[in-house]
Amino acid sequence: MKPGLFSSALFGMLFLAVLLFVCHAAEMFSLARAGQPALASVEAPANAFDFRDVITRAKDQVFPAVIFIKCITETHESGKKMSVEVSGSGVIISSDGQALTNWHVVDKALEVRCLLYDGRAFHAEIVGTDKDTDLALLQLGMAEIDDPLPVAKLGDSSVLVEGDFVMAMGAPWGMSRSVSIGIISCTRRYLPGNSEYSLWLQTDAAISPGNSGGPLVNTSGEVIGLNTRGVIYGGDMGFAVPTQTIQRVIRRIREVGAVEWSYTGIQLQALRDFSRNMYFDATEGVIVAGTDPDSPARRAGILPQDRLVSIGEEQVTAITEEDLPAIRRTLGLLAVDKPAALGLVRGGEVMKLKITPREKGEIEGEELDLPRWDFTAKSINQFDNPDLYFHRKEGVFVFGVEYPGNAVSAGLNEQDIILKVGKKKIKTLEELRTAYDQAVKNIEKEHKILIAVTRQGLMRQIVLDFARDYERQ
């Protein structure tokens, strides 16, 4: 997911209900809280709990481990390949130089540079990322280090209760660190469509763009979450990935460089849904809402309205939707290509089915820049572009179009699935690249090419005239 999560051209301002933002691009917001003087100090009784002390101590433990991250990132979104600077925060979690940050901070980064509180700067390598949980593990370039690194300790997020004091830390402007304080507002926040496998920690400690990837810290000075999302029009609501999730993910990343989720294609639904006024009779298990076409689940014979009660040895129950991420995580962590036993209740009868999950694989397609045509293409991915995948299982689509540009003038739209270029059928980016290269090489002879696309499921032809060189103008 990218900033401006719901880019809704058609319905624009109609539903600004809750706009979540991903917090980077520090430049956008001024951080009024940073450097603000402390509250008017009142002389506290000598033996009283000195809140400021607690905060200061905790802060001092983690502050040095907070890093400022600046990336040069490649983006194809605006219709051409562009390098942009993206900045965020991170936190060092091991003395050998591993640091945690958000996936969206380092996504598609060509170069990652980190700045410590004391002015030391490092180049960092990305050890691994997980888009589903929005986490990334970095390795700082250790050769350049002379002094030991400050390290923050990962705490246990499962013991948190609502009302616990927490601090959100970050380094939005480089050297200076900032901290804001608040409490845990909710320990199990479910955000539909955001993070399939994890619940969120919700806090009222201000999370501003720029401290994405920074730590959420408890009063003992332990990192209990990673600040990830804020809310623009929703008051004080920030969301952090809990360390419960972080621990699992970094373990897999350290082992194999990625989580390597497995894919079953089961669509799940909780037993109770107050907001939809929907209550199913059972008290255990989770409803199978449906199965993806062509998925392991469908092959296994799982039917909609089955009730899933166990995965392997583990009993599963989703009373409410807050329970769903844990079950999806269990399914997602099943061994690939190995049959697993699922316990189901179908029409009152208990039954066992074997499912063989497959590798989820890429959850986002590759991108390709076609500069003379003034658009970028991307391959269709089941998880990233379900709406396009519905119309074509394998292929490439127009990812971004540049304004002004040849593609726009020809009437090519974003989300058009490319079927043919000239007489060549196109299924992969490689085929598109070849067709493009040939067309551009041949430009003296022919500067127009007929492109067949699928738009909303219907074929359309578009004549792309690329005689104009917008790059040069």
């Binding site: 469509g193 639904q269 939809r276 006024n277 709406d387 909303q456 074929m459």
Partner: protein, 717 residues
Amino acid sequence: MKYIVRLAVALVFGSGLAFGKDLPELPSVTVQKEILKKVAPSAVTIEIYLQYDGAEAPEYTGHGFSGWRSDGSTLVKDERPVLFSGWLLDERTVITGDIFIEPRFIDRIEVTSADNRVRAELDGFLSRRIAAYLKLTEPLKGATPLNFLPDAKPPYYRVDRSMMNTQWRMSLGVVLPGYEEYVLTDRGEPVQQEYGSHLIVNEEGIPVGMRTWLNRGKDESWRGSPLHWRRITQATIDRLREDTIALAGQILPRVQLRLRSPKKGAMDDMHMVFSDRQVIETEGDVPGVIVDARRVVVLADLEPGVTARIERITVHRNGEDPVEAEFAFSLKDLGCFVATLSEPAETIARPFEGDLLDLLNEACLQLTLKLSGEQRVERVAFARLNSLCFGWKNKVYPTSSYDEEPQFLFDREGRVVALPVTRRTVGNTERYWRADWPVFMPLAYLGEFVSQPEKYADKSNVPLSAEEESRIAWIGVELQGLNPQLARANDVADITEDGQFGGLVSFVYPNSPAAREGVEQGDILIRIVAEGWPEPIPVTMNGDFYGYSRAFPWMQLDNMPVEFFDQVPPPWPLAENGLRATLTKLGFGRAFTLEVFSADEVIRKAFTVEQCPTHYNEAPQYKSDALGITVKDLTFEVRRYFQKTEEDPGVILSKVEPGSKAAIAGLKPFEIVTEVNGQAIHNAEQFEQQVVEKTELRLQVLRKDQSRLVRINLPAD
């Protein structure tokens, strides 16, 4: 109606040169001066001051024949009159060219000579000759009446009086031999051509006669004083106007049409914009003509989709009780339909059945009928039938000028000469401009057409039941409209006028007529040549907005407030597109040939207009008030979009009411319900059977390929 004269003047000038040495010469300047001096005291100037009639700005035409109808509001504002030149015939009588100004717009008429002026009134017109008379309220000082000597000796000269640079100027012209050109017409009748309206004098300045525009018949009737010519008096005209209005109240009734409410989507906004036909929502008032005791021709050019909704026809004649009428048939070529009266009519429109040539230049009455709802406003003006032309079916029609819509034309016997009727066209139905302009249809012809329904009736433009209403024709393709670039890239620029028309086939429905005939994706449909339709109809996809729309917001449905659901257009294009509309207008069962460009050649494929399978807008539906949803059968275009076969179960949610049980349960428009309580659902009827009187519902719901189970509890009644 008046432009022909300009042409005539040009002709005279042109032909005059050809006469060469025989050209008569003007007398010496001295003699010219003498002649003009003699007639000058008889020349007068007519000033007609205009006024508003209520809020209606006056209209006027310039001198005699030659003016266009103009807006007189500027003259009223400037407090100046329309000017005409005239000749004094006796103490109280002035002759001038035709004055086509309705009396209601005339404030006053003043006739002047030098500094003297008197009031005057319109006093009638000449029959056949283009001239009007004025009656002065008192003798005009300083002006002398013309004293005609019909047998004065030749040579003759003509006197012209015209205005230039605010000055009236008088001059003498030769009477060209061309004036007396002898022409033998088809009818064998010799005609003496005359151009212009002039006083004719001899060398001594003695008035011999008066020439008026385009007299017919070779005679000497131009000689002598026009004072004694046959005249239609103003009193006669006033009486005729009253009679015509009274007659029109009987033979041109107001016909009130009541229509069933249009179906949602059927009269989509886009279609409203593009329709050039009369758009009637639920009620409309249109003129009718009582053609015989039992039949009324209703002058409404209705789309089949509108005609389909006619439920009641009521005929309102002035001073009589309304009479119900029943739809009989509509005409395929003309924008009108015939209805049968439930009670016989006593007064019937009598057509002028003679030769229209006999009416040329004859004084007639033109009736303008305006129906604003139940309000009926009639205006009758004095008019002449100026020219004739060939029209539809090679018949002779009165010419209507470009700036005026034809109106109802009556002769002085109260017979209907002609009336405005729209000529229908089939192609190009989706344009911004109005394609069908009314023609001046002689009532005699109209009677002929309506008496042969077997030949002229349009079987596809008839009232229908609510179920049949939105039926359309198809061949089973989805099209993309061409444009110049696409036409050139596909090598069809030469046969599609550079992409002005033509449709690129983007999808062919299995088992459709197109599939049977082997039409394939990527073919280009060029033209339709329909049986019994003289002109080929280009395939157009104007209004192809669908292709410009952005991706359907499937991802946003969950974030959208329920109130906005109704504004979300379906993700598939409307079934009622340009090609289907054209085919529907051709009528079911008509054979046609489709020119298809396929694999580098034009192939002709034979089709018959077939009915399109039930489409989304007309799909059988079931509305559940308890749930707050409307579901529809999965129609062909919906199945195509969702890649569902004929056998796949499901009904589609076409409407979700805000605040309803279904809305709370999170149902969204365009989701598909495949099962209810474990039973597969194949259509709205089965859905109804499964949900009525149930208190607990489990719906299996599909959004594209994401499914979920929805449970809704309903209160037991």
